[in-house]
Symmetry: C2
Subunit: 322 residues, 2 copies
């Protein structure tokens, strides 16, 4: 299965979203701001979230306008988050391009992120739908809360599965959920359909983050675009580590490493231990289960191109390697 | 004239705003976030913007609920802006308290600011008024744009009055304008009244920033809580400098200083020159004119306690020394 076949039912609308993102980035009268916007939107990714908004709008006839606006807004919000995340993480590059914070300074990155956050909110406002606008603002709160919780609870292996699931909901699944829920709402779908698509979107959002966290250990640096085991290096406890420290030997090593994060030899040793254990398999199984729950929540929906794409998208999330 | 007499018609409502701000800061379940929120809202200022929202709502009978929510939101937005501004400026203290960025790190300050920005937007959403929600999002864009423009155009004395007025509109007057406009809208006032109060609020916002920029030169470090001439030191060209460099001797010195900002002796010399010139007087005259225009825009409004307070508030903005 390929991404292009999943996106086929919405390829024209996705192109319109791409056009609007370009129009937005070229619209600023302040030259320095324009350059920055073009830089961050040029390097934008696979438009996974806008695709979700467009696909979830496929279960009720609608003129597409509000949905395309919303799909543009969710990508803008995602980009704003990346700009601030790179500032917080002090990352030098993202997907092969320099980050705003490393090249233009943290200060510019803070203000640029604020600007794009606010701009995304004005797009959502123009849908005129209060429920969607409110959900969108709450999602911005969730995103920053997730990051803060990750920082606050780092280096502490006492925080287990509940803390992990809450964090990845705030950090990732909340925006997936809002992307899907808002597509359904703005298309005019009935409440049961909205709830099904919201549940689906939240579940694949959680699965997406679990896979991300497994790839952090099992991927190659080329595939994941960062050093292997970066999460542990930064003291962030994710699902693979939670599973790994069930073994008391590994738990001892992880504890030692978190007390002395400069011990890179120990870090490599732990990463190797996890790689050669069943942790990767168990983590994928967990993500698989989330994907199955996501697909199950679509059961009552009419069978159409968008539904088939959503089912394929759920599987694609598990099979990706970057 | 005293601030307390200006606030008399809205003292009860202002207390409710203060209560809601405290409730918000104490509501977070994440302990580290709660501590941060209590810190930034404890040090919050004079509630000038909420007061404006409450006073401009005094020209049409209303139950007060939406207006109080909005007044709470404008203060939250103001606080979020301060958190990010202190990060951008690398300030150690604000009004005698340590800043979040200096004490908890820039990273925490970025995320905390995002969280409070988003939280303020959810409060505005609960007014259910799309026009107000959209205006609020645009204001967040204006605020970050104003800061970016200030950075982009710093150290360049070619940017004159037009650039200055645009910058202070984005940076300060936009939020004043939105605070006043939204009070009027949410009270249910007619469109001509909304427009009068919006104009009033924008003008006093501009005057407020002009006075701030004059005090930066004419105030004592105790009054203004920062070194005298900080704007010039940071390369920010404000009204006093724009007036001062009409004199070719002063222009030469300013140009030299902007080329070598480490020359503190030259900085002191320029500040002294401006202090002993008519620049302060001329700048106040400019602010006075804005205040007169603000008061004039209220002419058609019925005479009541809120109108008298708005007239007094306009004068108070000129007379303040911190």
């Amino acid at each position: 299965m390929q991404a292009s076949s999943i996106l086929k039912p919405i390829s024209e609308q996705l192109q319109l979203v791409d056009d609007r993102l370009r129009e937005f980035s070229e619209s600023s009268e302040l030259p320095s701001l324009k350059d920055l916007l073009i830089h961050v939107f040029d390097s934008s990714g696979k438009l996974a979230r806008p695709a979700l908004t467009l696909l979830t709008a496929g279960f009720h006839p609608n003129d597409g306008e509000k949905v395309i606006t919303m799909a543009t807004a969710v990508e803008m919000l995602h980009v704003a988050t990346l700009v601030h995340d790179d500032t917080v993480d002090e990352s030098d590059t993202r997907r092969g391009r320099v980050t705003v914070s490393s090249s233009w300074g943290q200060h510019t990155a803070v203000l640029l992120g604020d600007y794009v956050f606010a701009a995304s909110a004005t797009y959502v406002c123009s849908t005129g739908n209060i429920r969607v606008i409110k959900r969108f603002s709450e999602t911005i709160m969730d995103l920053s809360r997730g990051q803060m919780q990750e920082t606050a609870n780092s280096r502490d292996i006492k925080n287990g599965m509940d803390d992990y699931l809450e964090r990845i909901y705030f950090k990732t699944a909340s925006l997936f959920s809002t992307s899907g829920e808002s597509g359904a709402i703005l298309s005019g779908a009935s409440e049961p359909i909205v709830q099904s698509l919201k549940t689906y979107s939240e579940k694949i959002g959680l699965a997406f983050q679990v896979v991300d966290d497994v790839l952090d250990i099992t991927g190659t640096p080329q595939e994941i675009g960062k050093p292997v085991g970066s999460d542990l290096l930064n003291g962030v406890i994710t699902l693979p580590t939670i599973y790994a420290i069930e073994d008391s030997g590994c738990r001892k090593k992880v504890r030692l490493f978190l007390e002395d994060p400069s011990n890179t030899e120990l870090h490599s040793e732990i990463v190797d231990m996890i790689k050669h254990s069943d942790v990767g398999e168990r983590s994928y199984k967990y993500a698989d289960q989330l994907v199955e729950e996501a697909k199950l929540s679509l059961q009552a929906l009419e069978d159409n191109d968008c539904k088939r794409s959503l089912l394929d998208l759920a599987d694609f999330i598990i099979s990706r390697n970057n």
